[in-house]
């Protein structure tokens, strides 16, 4: 076997072994380039060159990563080149302490790994909230007029904003939601966004707040209208005072310290807010889904009776035991859902695969579609069968996109049906309070459960006796498997 082949095989054997033994997630470093080049520039292209060797080895790692779930590359090749390879590969630290990089470089390495881990656990940011004047274009639309804004290819100051708009627009395809938060007359904001040279048009945004309210209030409103936590927002504003206000009033929001426009992209990008690990079809469609929701709220306004509104949506649900194609989405949902989440138990993809294999669990996912569109997989329930006739609900989550659609009742009906099929007599539900899940404080009360205990922290246990029958609660959604 070649030297290259045996070097690679060493790694692949190790990964395969780790997967079969622990079924865990693996984060593997790729290699940074060597700090010297024996063959000079030829070291890159010649098969005997070390640069060439590392390049090929890294490529093999990527091939493995592309064909393997739960396997991620920590791209230190990129981090080291951003940092500067000569500084990174400071041989003093290697010979003195066997540190593979100089100590001041370690925070960059750690941050890079932390971003991957954060993303695996669904802690990525979800949306941009963007200022307009001197952020998306140069100049102030209200004072200077649309025709005098710096945007477009003619001059350097316009190019830099065009590039920034392109960069933001690229995020849409990753499922990141764009919103505007600007101190402007609404008409002026829209006129600016309709600038012929701009890449971002009013239609690219889900919510546009252009008014004279304090920006922190606008952020709150945007969060409410999107049903998202404001801590999942990235607030981009060239004005440090606005950033300060938003940061001090909104817990967990990030406000990148952008300085000059030519550095906007780098500053935001190096923060790794939207690190991609598991990428689902849901992410691709996210912007459409939020648009559909806006249409639903318009329609709701035309009905007096809420049930009539729900019926008019002609909802159809698919509720069924886990299927392999949805496991990734199910894991993603378990890590992302904070509000409609009874136990806030997180499941990695590997965990979900374990549950899926185990017959002691009843596990259901639910998909919901209506006349405005398909929401995809938006709810998951996992129940653990214990003592033969008890079902303990470990996880009950639902995406806030489908709040108040009675989907949770349709899920309960199916869960009870499945439980009865397994001769379950009693279902136990658990509610563990967090800062974010107050909305489901009374969830099991609404489902007709009886509270049997509540400790000083507000952790509650409920039960429902189904041995003497159960009446279905959903009558607005058509359900199939």
């Amino acid at each position: 076997m070649t030297c290259f082949g045996s070097e690679y095989n060493k790694f692949q054997k190790m990964w395969d072994k780790l997967f079969s033994k622990f079924n865990s997630t693996i984060i593997q470093n790729n290699f940074e380039y060597p700090y010297y080049r024996l063959l000079g520039n030829k070291d890159a292209s010649d098969i005997h060159g070390k640069i060439n060797f590392i390049t090929r080895l890294n490529q093999k790692f990527y091939d493995y990563a592309n064909s393997t779930k739960n396997f991620f590359i920590n791209d230190i090749n990129y981090v080291s080149s951003c940092y500067g390879l000569d500084k990174w590969a400071n041989q003093f630290y290697w010979h003195m302490y066997k540190y593979a990089m100089e100590v001041p470089a370690i925070p960059y390495l750690s941050f890079n790994i932390a971003n991957i881990i954060k993303s695996i656990y669904g802690k990525n940011k979800k949306a941009f909230v963007l200022d307009l004047d001197n952020t998306l274009w140069g100049g102030i639309v209200g004072d200077d007029g649309v025709e005098n804004l710096a945007i477009g290819p003619e001059v350097p100051s316009g190019q830099v904003y065009s590039e920034f708009q392109n960069y933001l627009k690229e995020h849409k395809s990753l499922g990141v939601i764009l919103n505007v938060n600007s101190k402007n007359e609404y008409e002026n904001a829209i006129a600016g966004l309709n600038h012929p040279a701009g890449t971002l048009k009013p239609d690219d945004f889900i919510i546009i707040k252009a008014n004279w309210n304090p920006k922190n209030l606008n952020v709150k409103d945007i969060a409410e209208e999107l049903n998202l936590g404001a801590d999942s927002f990235v607030f981009v504003d060239d004005n440090p005072a606005e950033r300060q206000i938003v940061k001090s009033y909104i817990d967990g929001i990030v406000t990148p310290e952008i300085d000059v426009p030519e550095n906007y992209i780098r500053t935001i990008d190096h923060n790794g807010y939207f690190e991609i690990t598991n990428f689902s079809n849901e992410d691709l469609k996210k912007n459409e889904l939020y648009k559909d929701n806006a249409k639903r709220s318009q329609m709701m306004a035309t009905f007096d009776n809420y049930e009539d509104y729900l019926l008019s949506l002609k909802m159809k649900a698919e509720i069924s035991p886990f299927k392999p194609i949805y496991l990734e989405r199910i894991s993603q949902l378990s890590n992302k859902s904070n509000q409609f989440n009874l136990t806030t138990k997180r499941y990695s993809l590997a965990d979900i695969e374990e549950v899926n294999k185990d017959d002691n669990y009843i596990k259901l996912y639910g998909k919901l579609e209506d006349i405005f569109g398909d929401n995809g997989v938006i709810t998951v329930v996992i129940g653990n069968i214990k003592n033969k006739d008890e079902l303990h609900i470990d996880l009950w989550i639902m995406s806030c996109r489908v709040l108040k659609r009675n989907m949770e009742f349709a899920m309960m009906d199916e869960l009870v049906k499945k439980a009865q099929g397994k001769n379950i007599k009693t279902i136990y539900g658990y509610y563990y309070p967090t800062f974010k899940n107050k909305m489901v404080n009374n969830f099991y009360d609404l489902q007709g459960f009886e509270e049997i205990s509540c400790d000083s922290q507000g952790n509650k246990i409920y039960k429902l006796d189904i041995s003497k029958g159960y009446t279905n609660k959903n009558n607005v959604i058509e359900v199939h498997e």
Binding site: F92, H95, M96, Y97, Y99, V103, P104
Partner: protein, 79 residues
Amino acid sequence: MENEEIYERLNTVFRDVFDDESIVVKPETTSKDIEDWDSLEHINLVVAVEQEFGIKFNMNEVTTMKNVGEMVDIIKSRI
């Protein structure tokens, strides 16, 4: 820079690295005199001293330095 000022700044660095406000470094201070001064903390100490004075030690210096006094001599020769 006077010796006195160097010792004062070094003292701050030592207290910070070893998280011990009672440390007072003297020329004859060595790793035996400070409980937490092990090989790992030594790395942090060297990096912190380098940052404080904006200098870099070379390998020979780090491996032969016997006590704080010798460290100060090196710092003095650089600034």
